[in-house]
């Protein structure tokens, strides 16, 4: 479980240069086994927040607890990083090995895991992200989506309880994006890994159980995707997108047509409209 208590963060805190307050007193609880998307535009503080979840950044005010461990407690940092693994935006910046399987073996090797156990973890993790075929391929030969899946496997090899992904799809094409999101969903549903996905793509946030919308270093909205996206005006004011079908429902509601405001998919919207139009179709 992740918990923040009145978490604040300022860059350049205490230095001569002007201090920049990026997080302003956040209180957030993320339950074990949940899939939470943190949505927000650039500069909203979402990446800064994510970096607090594995002690890459430390609070300048308030506290962050990972499974009860205080990230400000230096003795816990090692365990926190093993509990909460992180995947970054640019896959090219996180690859260190010459071939895929060495990349995945890198972390467990550093943790001093038995060679036999390393082999079985590498095999298992590559299978989970559907990259077994590429075990002996050089990362540079992979597509962006494949690289990100390898990066996820490399984190999984440490057997983390929590997976934090900081805009993992920002540099990928739609196919790569859907590969990564599918993988993440599977990990959450089948292995019960707690997932925190940082993104500015609303389609991805819609796939989560919970959406936390950040703006100006504070939490602007927090709820299920349906609850969050039905706030069309607010989401737009925050510089974010809502799905086209949600926007359609909003426009129709404004015109006095009674349709559920929280439709998120084409199928849901079709069902609503068909119900409304009744016998008009044949």
């Amino acid at each position: 479980m992740i918990e923040t208590k009145n978490l604040s963060h300022s860059y350049r805190a205490g230095s001569a240069e002007q201090e920049k307050k990026v997080l302003k007193g956040l209180n957030l609880k993320i339950e074990k086994g949940s899939f939470t998307a943190v949505l927000g535009r650039n500069g909203s503080g979402k990446s800064t927040l994510a970096k607090h979840f594995n002690a890459m950044l430390l609070p300048t005010g308030g506290k962050v607890y990972i499974n009860g461990m205080d990230t400000l407690d230096e003795k816990s940092v090692f365990d926190i990083r093993r509990t909460a693994g992180m995947v970054f935006q640019n896959p090219d910046n996180q690859m260190v090995a010459a071939i895929v399987e060495d990349e995945v073996a890198f972390a467990p090797e550093n943790l001093g895991v038995e060679p036999k156990e390393i082999r079985s973890r590498v095999r298992e993790c590559l299978e989970t992200v559907n990259m077994t075929k590429y075990a002996e391929t050089a990362p540079s030969k992979l597509s962006g989506g494949q690289k990100q899946r390898v990066a996820i496997a490399a984190v999984l090899a440490m057997k983390p309880e929590i997976l934090i992904l900081d805009e993992p799809t920002a540099m990928l094409d739609p196919m790569g994006r859907s590969e990564v999101i599918k993988t993440v969903k599977k990990l959450n549903k089948e292995q019960g890994i707690t997932v925190v996905l940082i993104t500015h793509y609303m389609e991805e946030a819609a796939a989560a159980d919970r959406v936390v919308v950040m703006d100006g270093g504070s939490i602007a909205l927090d709820g299920t995707p349906k609850q969050v996206f039905s706030n069309v005006e607010m989401i737009k004011a925050l510089g974010l997108d809502v799905p086209q079908v949600t926007l359609l429902a909003y426009e129709l509601n404004k015109a006095g047509i009674d349709i559920a405001a929280d439709v998120l998919t084409v199928d849901e919207c079709f069902t609503e409209l068909a119900g409304l139009l009744g016998g008009n179709g044949k």
Partner: protein, 286 residues
């Protein structure tokens, strides 16, 4: 006018790494066109657009820019590159000067213009790219991601090209940065009646919003080429090649299949809302 005649392209031809990226491309893009090239990674779209300013030359066929054949060894490619500005993916990675002003001035300065002319060009480029006066004296690194990218585009516009090609200008931008970029492209098109603008995109929604012509690439060939309406009428075909039609086009398809009488050409929220209102109006009127 940009013309491709039976263009084929093979990377590393004659080596064991030979790889064909384009097959028999035939296109004519008239002056003043705002076109989008769409397709997934590996479809050949970046290879195609790099032909349009002679960054690469076709291994088969011809590319003709304003009547000049780029495969002709006598062609001065510098003139082609001045006429056709190419903006790469993540162009902001190429910003290097101390100020935005100096960065934009870099291109015009190489053209041997005098100081006043360069100044004029810089201001023109910045204005067209949607940058404000106050941005010019800042370091490029103090700008937001979207502004940085527009500063890079301003540098290309300051060369006063006749055509502008942009490779995924919205990649990695957040929704606000993306919308600002799209409105710059749209305004550029409206204010420069003869300029050809071609941009590469992954997003059907953004293409549906602004492009007059949509060229869909798949496995090195032109799969569909037409107006946005014509292209989005092929929802099933788009899905087969790994692209998604806009949600509104899919919704309209479903409603039509269920027997509701909807007009063709629905792919934006405005169009769909109007059509649904009409259906309901007709319903109560009956």
């Amino acid at each position: 006018m940009i013309k491709a005649e039976h263009v084929g392209y093979i990377y590393q031809k004659g080596t064991p790494f030979e790889h064909r990226a384009l097959y028999d491309i035939n296109l004519e893009i008239a002056d003043g066109t705002l076109a989008a090239v769409i397709g997934h990674t590996g479809s050949g779209k970046s290879t195609l657009i790099q032909h349009f300013n002679a960054l690469i030359k076709p291994t088969e066929g011809r590319v003709i820019i304003d009547g000049t054949d780029i495969t002709n060894p006598k062609t001065d490619l510098r003139l082609i590159r001045r006429a056709v500005g190419l903006v790469f993916q993540y162009p902001e990675h190429q910003l290097f000067e101390e100020t935005v002003y100096k960065d934009i001035a870099f291109g015009p300065a190489t053209m041997g213009l005098d100081k006043a002319e360069i100044d004029e060009r810089v201001r023109l480029g910045a204005r067209l790219a949607g940058l404000r006066e106050e941005h010019l004296q800042r370091s490029p690194f103090e700008l937001s991601g979207g502004q940085k990218r527009r500063a890079a585009i301003a540098g290309v516009l300051a060369m006063e090209p006749k055509a502008l090609i942009l490779d995924e200008p919205t990649a990695g931008l957040d929704p606000k940065g993306r919308d600002a970029m799209l409105s710059v492209i749209k305004k550029l098109h409206e204010e420069n009646k003869d300029m050809i603008i071609i941009f590469v995109s992954h997003s059907m929604e953004e293409v549906a919003g602004i492009a007059e012509r949509v060229i869909v690439m798949n496995e090195g060939r032109v799969e569909i080429d037409g107006t946005a309406e014509e292209v989005f009428a092929n929802a099933e075909r788009l899905r087969r090649i790994g692209l998604n039609a806009p949600q509104m086009a899919l919704l309209a398809d479903k409603l039509r299949a269920a027997g509701y009488d909807l007009p063709e050409n629905i792919y934006t929220v405005e169009q769909a809302a109007a059509a649904v209102k009409k259906l309901i109006g007709g319903n109560t009127g009956a």
